[in-house]
Each structure stands twice: as C-alpha cells, then as structure tokens.
Amino acid sequence: MTMLATLLTATPLVATSLAATPLGGALLAATPPSDATAPLWLTLIKVFTVFGITMTLVPMLVLAERRVSAWMQYRVGPNRVGPGGSLQPLADLVKMLFKEELRPDGVPPFIFTAAPAIAAICALSMMAVVPFGGTLEVGGRSIPMVVADTDIGVLVVLALSSIGVYGITLGGWASNSKYSLLGGLRSSAQMISYELSLGISLLGVLVVSGNFESGSFRLSDVIEYQATTGIWNALRLPLGFVLFTIAAFAETNRLPFDLPEAEPELVGGYHTEYSSMRFGLFFLGEYAAMVAGSSVIVCLFLGGWHCPWLTTEVTVGWTGALLQMSVFLAKVLAFLFFFIHVRWTLPRLRYDQLMTLGWKWMLPLSLLNLLWAGAHAALGWF
C-alpha cells in the first residue's frame, strides 16, 4: 500500500518534470530563431535524449561519488552489487521505493510534497537550454542540437536555479522541525549571497563573447564564438571562471558549501524529515543540478562541444554530431569528477566564513572581472 502511494507520488512528479521540459521549450519558442520552428516530434526526440542522458548520469554519479570517496579515503566502497558495484544505484533506488514514507505531524501536506518536486524539476529543466552539439545538417534540415533554442538561454538557467531554492527552503520550512528550518534558512541566505557573484561573472562572459551586440543570450552563441576564435573563455577570463565555479558549487549546495544539510550540526538539514522517494527526489535534484551546472560551465568557459583538433570541416553529418556530443560529454564528466574530488578534499566553511567569502570577496572580485571583460572587449584582445 505504502509502495503504491510512493509510486503514485513519484511517477507524476517524474512525468511532470519530463513534461515541463517540452512545455517550457514550447513556451520559450515564443521567440523563435531565424529559421522556422522545429516540428514537435523533433523536439520530443531531443527531450528524450537529453532527459535520458541526464537520468543515466545521475545514478552513475552517485556510484562514482561513493567509489571515488572510498578511493580517496583508502577504503573499498560499495563493490558487492553487480560487477564492481555497478548495480548499487539500482539497489538504492529499489530500497528508496520500498521504504516507508513518513510524514511528521502538523506539516502542510501540499508544500511538503511539492518541495522535493520543485527541487528536482528545476534542476532537470535546466538541461533544456544546454546545447550538446553544434547544428546538425541532415536531410535538408538544420537542427540545432539543443532542446529549446531560445534567445534567453543563459537567463533561463539563472531563473531556474533561483526558483530551485524554493524546493530546499520550503522543504525545510514545511518539515515542522527546527533542524530542517535552520537548513532551509541557510540555503536561502546562501543563494542570495552567491547568486549575485554568479550573475555578474556570467555578464563578463557575455561581454567578451559579443553577446550584447547581437542581443542574444544563447549558450550556443557563446560556444560558437569560442569555436571560431579557437580560444576558450577560461583563458580570457580566468578570474571569472574561478568565481563562476565557486558560485556554482554554492548554488548546488556542494561541499564546501553544504551548510543547508551540515550533518554534524543539523542532522540532515532541510531533508531531515524526508524519507523514501521524496528524499530520493531531493537527491535526484542535487545530482541533476550538478550535471546542469557542469554543463553550463563547460559551455560558458570550456568551449562546449569545441575541441581544438576537431574543426568544423571534420564534424559534418551524423558522425560529426556524435563526435561533438562525445567531446561535450567527456568535458562534462571531467568536470563532474572535479565536483566529486573537491567534495572529498575541502572541509566545510563556517557560516560567517561563507558570508564573508560571498559578500566581501566574491562580489568585489566579480565586479573586477566585469571590468576586465569590458577592457578585453573594448581593446580587442585575443
């Protein structure tokens, strides 16, 4: 009975997040690109590809996190389920689905249920504007390899990441527990502090890549610029790259910024009272946000699908598209490894250190980075 209820709550949530992506794409297509709007079946294929890859990456990432942490701490890690422990995520999923779903007394039922869904949906929908390849010319059709090819691409990422905070904050508030509430409060304060640096260091990228002249916030335009000049933005804006990465760690609640769920002091933070698949959705949201964050960083600073030895003459047709996708995926995986590595290397910041870093260091430095970007664009450096 409980399992049925869990499935019933979990299935529509996953289905909604799936539906949210094409719906968002259809809405965003209100400002269509120069060529005609893509047919629905094409968008659906792209949605299923991106959704499928993201949902495959998440369990792989969970396993990688446990094995890499074990490796870094001279342990073995989970290695019993399947060859080398490869089926461990599946076992975890089954466990989560079958566990009893607890709901504490006196919680507002709607918000309590909606909070994990908000966290997961926002993180998954971000992938809709991430271009995973260039333009595929096939059958007289030029298909941009991105689900929603919209003018405001980067802004959609920022907007969704700021809406995603509600999942954590509300989850903390609705749990009717002081530990959860403290976790939720911390997350909202943290997001406000780091979103500014995130946005301002992003502005630097747009200035350098000439996006303001064309008036487009497409991630594919940023990649196009890096591909044609052959220089990645991380070299143009090293400071911006570091700042954006730090802010992305803070936005995804990853160590050293995981104060909202600091185990030693807050039990489990915002998800203390969550169990079974609702907890699973928070978990999914965190890892999907990691995938989305890495993808955005790769697009903005590390050239996206661009690889120095794969010029546009080589990458034509299906093989070219697959090559570009593999390059992009490889970069994203490398960055995800970095995410995991940092988590098991650095200690957690104290709360006042977090605020000092955010307001007294990151914000002024990101303004400096914007100044640097402006000089870069005005003086026409590389």
Binding site: A26, L27, L28, A30, T31, L40, I111, T150, D151, I152, L155, V156, L158, A159, S161, S162, I163, V165, Y166, T169, L170, W173, L181, G184, L185, S188, A189, M191, I192, E195, G199, F212, E213, S214, G215, S216, F217
Partner: protein, 172 residues
C-alpha cells in the same frame, strides 16, 4: 501548440488568482508563495508578448531573488498566522486604496483607443532584445531610470534608519 489567446488567459488567471490570495491568506508564508505564483504568471504574460528578456528577468529578480529574501525574513522572524480582527481600519483603507488604484489604471484605458490596442501581442515591441532595451534605457528613458534608482536608494536609506539599533547616548 498553445494559441496566444489561451496562453494569455491562463497566465492572467494565474497572476490574478495569485494576487488575490496574497491579500487574503492569513499565513504569511502561504501569502508569499502565492505572490511567487503571481510573479510567475506575469513572467508568462511577458513571454506570450515575445519579451523573453523581461520574462526571464521577472523570474530571476522578483520570483527568484526578492521573494527568497522575503521568505527568509518571514521564516527568520517566525511570524505567526495573523488574526483577522483589530485591523478593520486598515482593511477599509486598503479597500479604498485598491479601488483608487484600479480606477487610476483603468481610466486611461477606457478613454484611449490607442492604449487598448497597444496591449495586444500584435502591437508588442518589435524587438525586446537586450540591446534594444539597453538602448532605450540609457537614451530615451535615462531620466526616469535614474529617478527610479534614486527612489530605491531613498527607500533603502529609510529602511536602514528605521531598523538600526539606537546608539547608547541617544534616546529613541
């Protein structure tokens, strides 16, 4: 595909229902959440008008940043459910203010045919891209833009003055 009219009706309904619930909910957290919903509805309206930039900024700034701050303060102060009575004067005043505002907005629309026409998607700004918005903001609307920032500055100074702790040698 959604027709523009359906999209407009759906998003207006979201915005209006949200706004109505903001002023009628007794739990401040619920009221704040309805306000977020209302903002999202308005952002949808911007999108249907083809102003993607404004829509995204609406979500980022209002729904994403300002309301998170609101929610933070509400949770931090641990505000309880407000009681309905004892506010009859304020309630009457706010009712009058609402009617006055409505009249202020509705009158120009009732009088001018041009304004009514401008509210349909066909007459939306031809290109609401970042470049065009910036051009208008720094040339034609430079003065109103500066005045609004000044207004915000004044509000901020006022809020800091009201909230700061009185110095020891100074009575409140």
């Amino acid at each position: 595909m959604l027709s523009e009219r359906t999209a407009f009706l759906v998003f207006s309904a979201i915005a209006l229902i949200g706004a109505a619930n903001v002023v009628t909910r007794k739990n401040p957290v619920h009221a704040a959440l309805w306000l977020v919903g209302s903002f999202l509805g308005v952002a949808g309206l911007f999108l249907t008008l083809g102003a993607g930039l404004l829509g995204a900024i609406q979500v980022m700034v209002y729904a994403g940043a300002i309301m998170v701050l609101f929610l933070f303060v509400i949770l931090l102060l641990n505000l309880d459910v407000t009681e309905g009575d004892g506010l009859s004067f304020a309630r009457g005043a706010s009712f009058l203010a609402a009617i006055a505002t409505l009249a202020l907005v509705a009158l120009p629309f009732a009088q001018s045919r041009e304004l009514r026409a401008a509210a349909t998607p066909d007459h939306a700004a031809p290109d609401a891209s970042a470049g065009n918005v910036a051009d208008l903001l720094f040339t034609r609307y430079a003065l109103p833009f500066e005045v609004v920032s000044l207004l915000l500055l004044i509000a901020m100074v006022g809020a800091i003055h009201l909230a700061r702790r009185p110095r020891r040698d100074e009575s409140v």
